[in-house]
């Protein structure tokens, strides 16, 4: 999808005479149609972390290699989003873990066998491949050298080394299937246990400040830092075996997908994750799976400027389209509302009520609707609704503010109602209408963050994850560009004012 042209800025002075506002609206209608175009190929979804991206790419490539058109919607969100998207038919397949299925999707407290899971999913009309071959669960890791020197291979072996220093993530310390039950189950004797940030923990492990830490078993860092995963010999950690979930697909697609079963062990997956994180090129990492020679040259990776550009463009796309819709719908509604009466009241009332619906609730309302679902459409629809009020209200009040003598003058001339509107009333109200549009534009830029809630991207991505992690720097990665965008819009509209507000009104 291309960058929307939110509002065409022309330098052509003659544009002034060319019924500017109406023109603007008409110009932009075709752009809006793009949004509703829907896709035919098999759609693979993935969650918002490296491994899921890579698995999604692998699936896409596997389908393509089998001659099946497939696309990959990267990093759509968390478990619930993906599961709903699968149920709603927005995606056809996505990579998942057995442990997650049991706990978050089927919500059983028990450890389910693979067969149990398969049967339970079948009731939802969802099928599952056999495990891909690796298990991505919590694990304890050590420096390889240290482990070999001391002869530690399994977690039970740790019992003989009470002097080892543990550095565990806060989450692992807190989790009720984390440190406490683990240390009871294995009767670990270590006294020195500190809480430490995950990334810092690797540094601490490297410089010997700690000896053992927790990790996901396919974490790229394991390979990068030359660590070993200690075997969970008492099978304490639940299984998180990677599989693909899928719904109705063509037999060919299913076969292609199932060809991946049992082909990826931990070591290989770790390696792919390493390559993906190094190059930030998930397709490249996925290609490595299919054979060393086949990987395309690694790109420069997604640098910060690149990510920023991606977020910003998407943000503009979201805010731009929704603004466009709000203008196309809002100005006519404002025109009707300017006449007052019950209909006018109703329109303003509707726009007001919409404004009070909390964004999460609005999304919750829209997501179940088939046309919307987990998609950019939903985000745009929500933003559109939030952008309506200022435009409708300012259009109405701007029209009402036109002096009676001039309204009568237009009537007496014999101009038809539509011409009157286009040639006289709208241009005369243009300052007020544009003021409403500007307010809407800024509100939309602010609110477009909500799109990240349903995985529609934009600058809300860093903001939301920053808020979740309580990480100010990450928040600012999204908030500062959003603020700059608002300033840009402000400036852009000031230019636009000069084009759209007739000169005769600015003397």
């Amino acid at each position: 999808m291309k960058l929307p042209r939110p509002i065409g800025v022309g330098r052509d002075r003659r544009a002034r005479r060319a019924r500017p506002i109406v023109l603007l609206l008409l110009l932009l209608i075709p752009v809006a149609v793009v949004v509703s175009a829907s896709a035919n190929p098999v759609t693979i979804g993935s969650k918002k972390f490296t491994e899921s991206y890579v698995l999604g790419e692998i699936a896409r490539r596997a389908l393509n290699d089998a001659g099946i058109a497939a696309e990959h919607r990267q990093g759509m969100g968390g478990t619930i989003i993906l599961w709903q998207a699968l149920q709603g038919g927005q995606i056809d397949a996505y990579p998942e873990y057995t442990g997650t299925i049991a706990q978050e999707i089927l919500k059983t407290g028990q450890q389910l066998s693979f067969e149990d899971i398969r049967d339970a999913l079948a009731e939802y009309g969802v099928a599952i491949t056999e495990p891909l071959g690796f298990d991505n669960t919590y694990a304890l890791v050590m420096r390889r050298s240290e482990a070999q020197r001391r002869g530690i291979r399994t977690i039970s072996d740790l019992r003989q080394h009470p002097e080892l220093k543990f550095g565990l993530t806060h989450e692992f310390l807190d989790r009720q299937d984390g440190w406490r039950p683990l240390h009871e189950r294995y009767a670990l004797p270590q006294q020195s246990v500190i809480g430490i940030d995950h990334a810092l923990g690797y540094s601490a492990l490297a410089n010997g400040s700690i000896d053992v830490k927790d990790a996901y078993s396919t974490d790229a860092k394991i390979e990068e830092n030359d660590l070993v995963v200690l075997e969970d010999d008492l099978r304490f950690f639940p299984k998180y075996e990677a599989v693909f979930l899928f719904r109705s697909m063509s037999p060919g697609a299913i076969t292609a997908l199932r060809r991946l079963e049992g082909t990826l062990d931990e070591k290989r997956m770790i390696h792919l994750n390493v390559e993906a994180e190094r190059t930030k090129n998930y397709a490249f990492a996925a290609n490595l799976y299919f054979g060393p020679g086949k990987g395309s040259a690694p790109s420069m990776g997604e640098s910060f400027p690149h990510k920023l550009a991606r977020w910003t463009l998407r943000h503009l796309e979201l805010a731009g389209f929704s603004l466009l819709l709000a203008v196309i719908i809002g100005v006519p509604l404002g025109i009707v509302a300017s006449r007052g009466g019950w209909i006018g009241q109703g329109i303003l009332g509707f726009a007001s009520v919409v404004q009070t619906i909390p964004s999460l609730a609005l999304l919750a309302l829209l997501v179940p609707v088939p046309f919307f679902g987990i998609s950019m459409r939903t985000a745009i629809a929500a933003l559109f609704l939030y952008g309506l009020l200022p435009i409708v209200r300012n259009t109405a009040s701007g029209l009402q503010d036109i002096p009676r003598s001039l309204r009568e003058s237009a009537v007496a001339l014999g101009l038809g109602p539509f011409t009157r509107l286009r040639e006289i009333y709208l241009p005369m109200a243009s300052r007020s209408i544009l003021s409403g549009i500007k307010t809407s534009a800024v509100i939309n830029i602010g609110t477009a963050t909500l799109a990240a809630l349903i995985g529609a991207g934009g600058l809300g991505e860093p903001i939301l994850s920053g808020l979740n992690l309580n990480d100010h720097a990450t928040i600012l990665e999204g908030a500062i560009p959003a603020a700059l965008l608002a300033l840009l819009v402000q400036w852009l509209f000031d230019v636009l004012d000069r084009v759209l507000i007739p000169k005769g009104l600015r003397i």
Partner: protein, 247 residues
């Protein structure tokens, strides 16, 4: 001579004011009818009723022997040229755009419009250079002439002129009066002309209608009004204007 517009028992009230009291009037085809009377007597109201900017409270108005209704007026308005007392120029359009508005709208040919525009500028002694100015950049008299050009642009069947020359200097006014009168005679133009200048009224008026306080007091030629005043007010009004030579 047949009436183009006929007012039949028209009454118009604003809240407590009766702006126009049961009025009968016919505006004859091909004639110039001049409407005079004290300020606030209802002259503008009468014009606004004809173009249906306001609805009469009772009575009816006929155009070409058909009663004007809110439905039929839309089309009729294009056959009427109306110079509003206070200009009514659109501030966001240049003088040219104001004049050409309707012509462009009904799709007149470009050069036809251009010719007519030059003709009108000539008539009103309006400099063509000023056409690209916005109303706020024109003097009072210049604006008034733009309003007049706008009304004349489409050569309407009926001209309603509400003090169209009030803000013009004697020089322009005199020659404009002469030219307008010539054109009116030549085209057999039907005109309803409101003025406060008795000399102008006499010069234009085939028929003069004197109103007072919402009523038509007397109609006829200036001679009728001077010689057979229907009430003392008529004589008083006719003799009021300072320095006017009643030829």
């Amino acid at each position: 001579m047949s009436a183009l517009v006929k007012l039949i028992d028209v009454i118009k009230r604003y809240a407590d004011v009766t702006a126009l009291d049961s009025t009968n009037l016919s505006i004859e085809r091909g004639n110039t009818t001049v409407l005079i009377g004290p300020s606030g007597c209802g002259k503008s109201t009468l014009l606004r009723l004809i173009v249906r900017l306001i609805e009469p409270d009772s009575g009816s108005i006929e155009f070409n022997d058909e009663t004007i209704t809110s439905d039929t007026i839309a089309k009729l308005r294009r056959r009427i040229g109306y110079v509003i007392q206070e200009g009514g120029l659109f501030p966001h359009l240049t003088a040219r755009a104001n004049v050409l508005l309707m012509a462009r709208h009904i799709g007149k040919a470009q050069d036809e419009m251009q010719n007519r525009l030059v003709e009108l500028c000539d008539l009103t002694r309006f400099s063509v250079d000023l056409l690209s100015r916005y109303p706020l950049e024109l003097s009072g008299g210049q604006r008034q002439r733009v309003g007049l050009m706008r009304a004349l642009m489409l050569s309407p069947e009926l001209l309603l002129l509400d003090e169209p020359l009030g803000a013009l200097d004697p020089l322009v006014r005199a020659s404009l009066q002469k030219d307008l009168k010539g054109i009116f005679a030549q085209l057999r133009q039907t005109v309803l002309f409101v003025t406060h200048d008795l000399a102008e009224a006499i010069y234009f008026g085939d028929k003069i209608v004197l109103m007072n306080d919402g009523r038509v007091v007397q109609k006829g030629s200036i001679a009728d009004l001077r010689e057979n005043p229907s009430e003392p007010f008529v004589a008083e009004f006719i003799n009021a204007q300072r320095g006017v030579l009643l030829t």
